[in-house]
Subunit: 148 residues, 2 copies
Amino acid sequence: MPDLPTILARLDREGLRLTAPRRTVVSAILGWAEPFTSAELWTVIQVQAPTIGRATVFRTLDLLVRLGFVQRIHDDAEGGRCHAYLACDTGHHHHLICSACGNVTDFVETPAFAEVVRAVEGQTAYRIEGHRLELIGRCPTCQAGGPP
Amino acid sequence: MPDLPTILARLDREGLRLTAPRRTVVSAILGWAEPFTSAELWTVIQVQAPTIGRATVFRTLDLLVRLGFVQRIHDDAEGGRCHAYLACDTGHHHHLICSACGNVTDFVETPAFAEVVRAVEGQTAYRIEGHRLELIGRCPTCQAGGPP
DNA sequence: CGCTAGTTGATACGTAGTATCATAAAAAGC
DNA sequence: GCTTTTTATGATACTACGTATCAACTAGCG
């Protein structure tokens, strides 16, 4: 994820206001490497700036999702709830979620993926416009640690 | 999706009971080609058998997801809520969602997908165990209809 | 400074799903 | 067919997550 000034500059460019609550929420998210739920974020915000309303947290989260600084991920595999959020770079990429520790790693698309898309287009006559790919696996650390 | 007797036989094999509410919920889902929300299902159930409780619908839905007769899909692309459900065959496959009409088509993995997985394993040192792939595109009908 | 439109926080509301628990009813045994 | 045991059910209440509303506030601009 880019740093605070970069994000603020982006907000500015979009004609959005750089308010104190937004700065607070954005910096709370910054550097959050693992996925987080809205509840976790809200807890942190309440400690850092108790005056900020819950609605504002959701609104800012939404804003960042729209601008591509945050992605929604779907972790129902882990018995958790559906939505979690994840700070990320703006470049298009996908997530690799460790089934043991829940860590999320980014990976970029390999050329082979374009072939998959072409094959499916041939198979179904759809024109593919976008995709969502999440891989679940075991990270090197958890592989070393043996099965839990 | 298999037919009712097949599903009931499967329940039986799992040591689960073939109760009237389960039969009702399963047949309501059967043949539902498009994705549906729990609310839609609940509405239908209420008409067909008003005595069935909401909790039972959720429990049966959960059961079918565990047995692989129903999948959860994530359609936040369509401005809808996160979860929808989709009756499906037990074979492993993925969903192709039309961005215009919301129709869902199944497709099976192409060989190229295995290559993608291998590439990512090389890139990240993860051992890949599973994946979730959803493609978003435009179905032949909506392509013909021109942009909405 | 003073204006104005974009934001905010409080509150209420809505929806999806879960927990609890007394009751009902399948399946298994007789 | 009747009894027992175990599972499932329905009512209800509850939680989590998110949205709508709206008066009050404030960033950014001239």
